[in-house]
Symmetry: C2
Subunit: 166 residues, 2 copies
């Protein structure tokens, strides 16, 4: 996987890792392919893998409203592209949790997969890798938490305005 | 601070650290006191310190609605107690961000303070400490993110129900 090292150096999750450390990470990566139309992960399923996109386009679909899983209404859609080497499912490196979105291959896709147990084993062997990846990951998760907290305040404000006006 | 090592071993943030590693952490702790009524941190201020409670009771106050910072309406209140050695402000170990809640001393309080720069310096010197604390911290933050995401879905559902019914 030597040709790929430069790709991984660009990824936020692997920031501040030397090429040597990145090479150790590539040993736990597995290249996986999905055909256009296939579901890569499904919202609500428990997962223990994260993905780095290499080729193709995926659609991220997230339910906004409870009890409405089957319809396309009340969902948000985002597209991620292989050329940006987008990363998703990275919280699965920490613990097995329910996926918070469905990811579907829009074109044929090639991705790199990392399994939680392989990551934690590598981090126990090489604490520097563990420390640097987790510093990057926890900053990513904390940015998302800040965004989610802001959304909560906005939604509560909207509800409060509506309930005072009706 | 030898008498305090057992306290820190009980704290989730320091889980899976040996007494030796905990002792290294106590070297970057500073004991700080607040009088009843004093503000320990203020929502919206940028902070670079986290706190572990040792004695006393604090009140956590968080605004739920925008533009209503001065009134007590539309706020959530929680109390934290020294006997549980509650931890707050821990995201400041990762980066300097705005505080998401105000913390006020209800009684005279004694706390341990850790500064971000001291933590990151220790983690660079001892990657195992960095790795283990960040694994614990990122799991704490990811649990909060899950909770915030669930809140968003509940609020969007409530809004959607109301907007269809009025």
């Amino acid at each position: 996987m030597d040709e790929d090292i430069t790709i991984f150096q660009e990824i936020t999750l692997f920031k501040n890792l030397t090429p040597d450390k990145i090479r150790k990470i590539t040993n736990i990566l597995r290249k996986v392919s999905f055909l256009a139309g296939e579901i890569i992960m499904r919202e609500g399923d428990v997962g223990d893998t994260m993905y780095i996109m290499q080729e193709g386009t995926v659609e991220v679909v997230k339910s906004l409203v409870m009890g409405d899983e089957e319809s396309d209404k009340n969902k948000v859609f985002t597209r991620l592209d292989g050329t940006q080497h987008a990363v998703f499912g990275e919280i699965a490196l920490l613990e097995e949790l329910k996926r918070t979105a469905t990811i579907k291959a829009i074109t044929d896709c090639v991705l790199y997969e990392i399994k939680k147990d392989d990551f934690l084993r590598l981090a126990e062997e090489d604490h520097e890798i563990g420390y640097r990846i987790l510093l990057n990951l926890s900053r990513i998760v904390s940015a998302r938490l800040r965004k989610a907290d802001e959304d909560t305040v906005k939604l509560t404000t909207a509800l409060s305005v509506i309930l005072h006006e009706v």
